[in-house]
């Protein structure tokens, strides 16, 4: 990692050079962020990879793919089950003769939808709870933070499993939505703590005092003055939470508490594929492709979060010396 970062040095930036040399073009914060981000090679590659994965999942209908649910058979009517990768089926077929390639592409829909929706929920809850607790302090802070402590000390997976079983039974067919809500409720705690810490220190700063002296109300101070300054940890933590949510969704679907078959999902594919691969049939492709899709997506999300952290707030980089 450090190699990429070593190259990211203030003197490297074309934008900065231009501004220094001619002093014509103003260098905005956004511009600085953008130059730093585009210089982070790993993050750029991850963004590209993620764009491809998301694009494939969103536009799967337009791609020349087979139906992910249809069970194929050859001309004589025999099922095309457990075909090796290659030829007509680049990723092979599963036990029921379904095309693994198109199942991997379509399976991304669930994972990505749950990941991004959970991220949205976490950002909303975490920011609201954290900013209210940090800004108002006193008993509100104590009450909200005790609540956060309890949420954070829940045994995540057992609670997620029993809740997913409940949601699955009571809200049939909307698993992607209910799973996002569930994971959103379970994962907002750490962001709330981070936002609270930011607010605690920012509310004592001079610019907040100035705003208050100028007669700004609480709402204006929170949204216009403090929140923009706390934005970078919120963005970074949310991005990393998306990775966690994708892994958890896959784990739940692996255990049989995710979307209902025959809708494809990476976790479920790895689960049934694992049984085929280990249980004698040796069908490694049933495990390999969904797993690779899962790992590359989460890896891309995590590297993106890393790049965002370096670009948004260079002083916070973990690898700083």
């Amino acid at each position: 990692m450090s190699d990429e970062r070593k190259g990211v040095d203030a003197t490297d930036y074309a934008a900065l050079d231009a501004a220094e040399g001619m002093a014509v073009e103003p260098v905005t914060q956004w511009r600085l962020f953008w130059t730093r981000f585009t210089h982070h090679r790993l993050a750029m590659w991850s963004a590209l990879g993620l764009a491809i994965i998301v694009g494939a999942a969103v536009f799967a209908d337009l791609l020349p793919l087979r139906d992910p649910i249809q069970q194929f058979s050859d001309a004589t009517g025999r099922a095309n089950n457990l075909l090796n990768p290659g030829g007509q089926f680049p990723f092979g077929t599963d036990r029921l003769g379904r095309d693994v390639l198109s199942r991997v592409v379509y399976g991304g829909r669930t994972s990505l939808a749950v990941g991004f929706l959970t991220g949205l929920m976490v950002a909303t809850f975490g920011t609201i709870v954290g900013s209210v607790a940090g800004y108002y302090g006193r008993w509100i802070d104590t009450a909200l933070m005790r609540f956060t402590d309890i949420v954070l000390s829940l045994p995540l997976l057992p609670i997620a499993i029993v809740s997913a079983a409940f949601l699955r039974e009571n809200f049939r067919g909307k698993e992607w939505l209910t799973l996002s809500v569930l994971l959103g409720f379970l994962l907002w705690g750490s962001l709330a703590r981070i936002v609270r810490a930011e607010f605690l220190s920012l509310r004592e700063k001079e610019f907040v005092e100035a705003a208050r002296a100028a007669g700004a109300r609480d709402r204006r101070i929170i949204f216009r003055h403090i929140l923009p300054n706390a934005l970078s940890p919120i963005i970074v933590t949310t991005t990393l939470t998306i990775g966690t949510a994708i892994i958890l969704e896959a784990a739940l679907s692996f255990l049989g508490f995710g979307v209902r078959p025959p809708t494809p999902a990476w976790g479920e594919m790895a689960s049934t594929g694992g049984r085929e691969a280990v249980g004698g049939a040796g069908a490694w492709w049933l495990v390999l492709f969904p797993s690779m899709a899962l790992i590359s997506t989460v890896l891309a999300v995590n590297f993106l979060g890393d790049g965002l952290r370096d670009a948004l707030d260079p002083t916070q980089s973990i690898d700083r010396k």
Partner: protein, 333 residues
């Protein structure tokens, strides 16, 4: 100090209570109860169903059911009947749960030991040889591990180290399922040990891998921080040999924060155990939990959820206390 412990214990109790109430509400509202399977059986009379329903207290209002459950549940000493009977007729809940606690603990403790014994030396080595080839490789590997779900690791290990390794070498190194072989009881002592290790290694390693990644990253960072601290410069300036400086002055201080990491990791290890147990057919709490949820056998679900939360709360408290004992700068408020 005493005040701190009391406060932590109270919060822990609130957490366990909250978990039990949430779970109770969830299982009460998850579709049909376990008796529905019996209702579908033509050989069982409606009369019997009603009797069973009364016996389990299912005809009572949910709040009353919860209090009855809680009252019986805290009387742990009434072994084995305190936690009632399993709905599916598989015996007293307490017996079934206690039976599986040891299985999960064996898996978790092994995973934790593996993670500590591999992760910490790796992190220290990475810090001492910063930016070396090994450091870079280990860093990349741990980033990939962070992004890999535990079930992918589990199935991958099964395929590579059990299935293909046996196919290539013709020797069975590891088993993919169960805790012991069928004829385990007839083995000699050493054969028993070997058999247990062959069964234990892969599931424990699947859980440990992500912790190895986390511990080595963390240990590397703390060790680097310590290596650049003032007292290390003093030790070097005194002319002490590098070995003494690194091991005696550096390592001792760099090891303390790992306690926090372990305490934060306990819940993760338990969650990992739930998934790994169902991949490797390991007789533990996680597999029982998944089974019980499938059957909606709520006395077992409730017992497991409470036991698991209790374990997490207790271990976190112990780890925090150990941290204060190791690092005198920490004060409890």
């Amino acid at each position: 100090m005493a005040q701190y412990v009391v406060r932590r214990v109270v919060y822990g109790m609130v957490t366990v209570l909250a978990v039990s109430i949430i779970t109770f509400w969830l299982v009460q509202n998850t579709g049909a109860d376990a008796l529905d399977r019996l209702r579908g059986n033509p050989r069982i009379q409606p009369e019997q169903i009603r009797e069973m329903s009364e016996y389990f207290g299912l005809d009572r209002p949910p709040v009353e059911q919860y209090f009855t459950w809680a009252k019986n549940f805290v009387q742990v000493w009434n072994y084995p009947d305190a936690w009632g009977q399993s709905f599916t007729g598989s015996g007293p809940v307490q017996e079934r749960v206690f039976d599986k606690v040891l299985g999960t603990l064996r898996l978790m403790v092994t995973a934790l030991l593996l993670a500590l014994l591999i992760g910490i030396p790796l992190g220290i080595f990475q810090a001492i040889k910063q930016y070396s080839f090994l450091d870079q490789t280990a860093t990349t590997a741990s980033f990939i591990t962070f992004s890999t779900p535990i079930f992918v690791v589990g199935i991958g290990l099964q395929i590579l180290l059990a299935l293909y390794l046996e196919r290539w070498t013709g020797v069975k190194f590891f088993y993919t399922s169960g805790m012991n072989s069928v004829n385990y009881s007839q083995f000699s002592f050493w054969a028993k040990v070997g058999d247990s290790v062959q069964h234990l290694f892969l599931p424990a390693m699947s859980i440990a891998l992500i912790s190895i990644a986390a511990y080595s990253r963390y240990q590397r960072a703390t060790m680097l921080e310590v290596l650049h601290s003032d007292y290390m410069r003093t030790a070097k300036a005194k002319g002490l040999p590098r070995r003494t400086v690194v091991l005696k002055h550096g390592l001792r201080n760099a090891l303390i924060p790992i306690v926090t990491l372990v305490s934060l990791d306990i819940a993760g290890l338990l969650g990992g155990a739930v998934i790994t147990e169902s991949i490797f057919g390991w007789p533990g709490m996680g597999r029982l939990y998944i089974e019980a949820i499938g059957l909606n056998d709520w006395p077992i679900i409730m017992a497991l959820v409470v036991v698991i939360s209790f374990m997490v709360v207790v271990m976190n408290l112990l780890a925090d206390l150990a941290y204060g004992w190791l690092d005198p700068r920490v004060r409890y408020e």
